[in-house]
């Protein structure tokens, strides 16, 4: 399967100040093949594939289950905001969840070796948002970098899928593939890990299936 270099999360208008078409146009210039846009209304623009994303945050496990049921058959990338340790472990066993995001906001025990093993077993990706690295200053950035270093350490041991995203709300917040690679190298990911992570979001919606014979 061809690898699609993807920004795993952007927020187009009305959540941000840029239209989804403009973000796709910008993504093409920045070297991306596709992007996951929250509540996007189009599937492709300017040769860039736009995957619709759904972000679920600050809610109960029951609520998340019902929202995942609503998304069945829609081909949307489902992202759930991480919470405490118990919540994350419950999320990491759910079918229909593609990405666990906001792990940098949780404490060190929120995503530990058990959660890492669960993510690897259920092939649920962990999102490394570069927004706190780009926009954060001081303690906020240091804490995010520290959490990502820990995630990178667990990633090397358990090999769960990683995705990289900018969480851009504007074209001004989008970064090129080269810039994302350089920023991701700050958290201890090598070039192979980064390539893998950039391609993972594209694989989430089209998982590898057994070979079929088509007559």
């Amino acid at each position: 399967m061809m690898m699609m270099i993807t920004d795993a999360c952007v927020y187009p208008s009305p959540m941000g100040d840029s239209s989804v078409r403009r973000m796709a146009l910008e993504a093409r210039e920045l070297g991306f093949d596709s992007l996951v846009a929250i509540d996007a209304g189009i599937s492709e623009y300017a040769g860039v594939s736009v995957m619709s994303g759904v972000q679920i945050r600050h809610t109960s496990v029951q609520e998340i289950l019902s929202r995942i049921k609503c998304q069945k058959g829609r081909d949307a990338v489902v992202m759930v905001e991480a919470g405490d340790s118990g919540f994350n472990r419950a999320i990491l066993t759910m079918r229909g969840v593609h990405i666990l995001c906001g792990v940098h906001k949780t404490d060190r025990y929120g995503f530990d070796h058990i959660a890492a093993k669960m993510a690897a077993d259920h092939r649920i990706a962990i999102d490394i948002s570069l927004a706190p690295v780009i926009h954060g200053r001081g303690v906020l950035r240091q804490r995010a970098l520290d959490r990502y270093l820990d995630i990178a350490r667990l990633y090397r041991k358990f090999e769960f899928p990683l995705v990289l995203s900018t969480h851009a709300r504007s074209v001004l917040e989008m970064r090129s593939v080269r810039e994302i690679s350089a920023l991701a190298s700050l958290v201890g990911l090598d070039i192979m890990d980064i390539e893998q992570a950039l391609g993972n979001a594209g694989r989430l919606c089209t998982p590898e299936r057994a070979v079929r014979v088509i007559q």
Partner: protein
């Protein structure tokens, strides 16, 4: 003071940086302070002194930023963390690295922009009941600003977005 011979001079590298949004020309002094701040905040004072960043020129929507040879990566990473210059939201996108300013100047493309997105169409649009004026237009990209005394937020759209309205 006599100039040092070339062999004793410090080796430098120059980065060509595109300033986004297009059409915004920052004050070189302010941009220099922004770059210094970004390098210092990300890498610390000791590393910043090794990087030794300096804004050499701001022209045609681009900036040329100088650093010590071998520190290009550190400077480029720091530049990607720049989010504002003064009160203006910006992004700095590194597009080339060279050993001479001249070779970077050759790479700067002339900017062809207009404020009329579609020929014969007015440069003002009503989106969701609000009046917007076109402030920049290049190819498919159209930037609009909401008309008003207080609100000067820039919105980033395409021609198709405007045609849909």
């Amino acid at each position: 003071m006599t100039a040092r011979p070339p062999t004793l001079r410090e080796k430098r590298r120059y980065l060509l940086v595109h300033i986004v949004p297009a059409g915004y020309i920052p004050d070189p002094k302010e941009l220099s302070l922004t770059v210094h701040d970004a390098v210092t905040v990300l890498w610390g004072d000791a590393m910043a002194s090794l990087v030794h960043p300096s804004v050499v020129a701001v022209e045609n929507g681009c900036a040329i930023v100088r650093c010590r040879r071998g520190m290009e990566r550190e400077l480029a990473i720091a530049l990607s963390t720049v989010t504002s210059c003064g009160n203006q939201r910006i992004a700095l996108r590194t597009s080339a690295v060279s050993g001479t300013i001249e070779s970077l100047r050759e790479r700067i493309e002339p900017v062809h922009t207009t404020t009329e997105p579609l020929s014969g169409e007015p440069a003002e649009y009503t989106i969701n009941g609000c009046l917007f004026s076109v402030c920049h237009c290049a190819g498919q990209k159209v930037d609009v600003i909401e008309k008003g005394f207080k609100n000067t937020t820039r919105f980033f759209l395409t021609r198709e977005d405007l045609e849909d309205q």
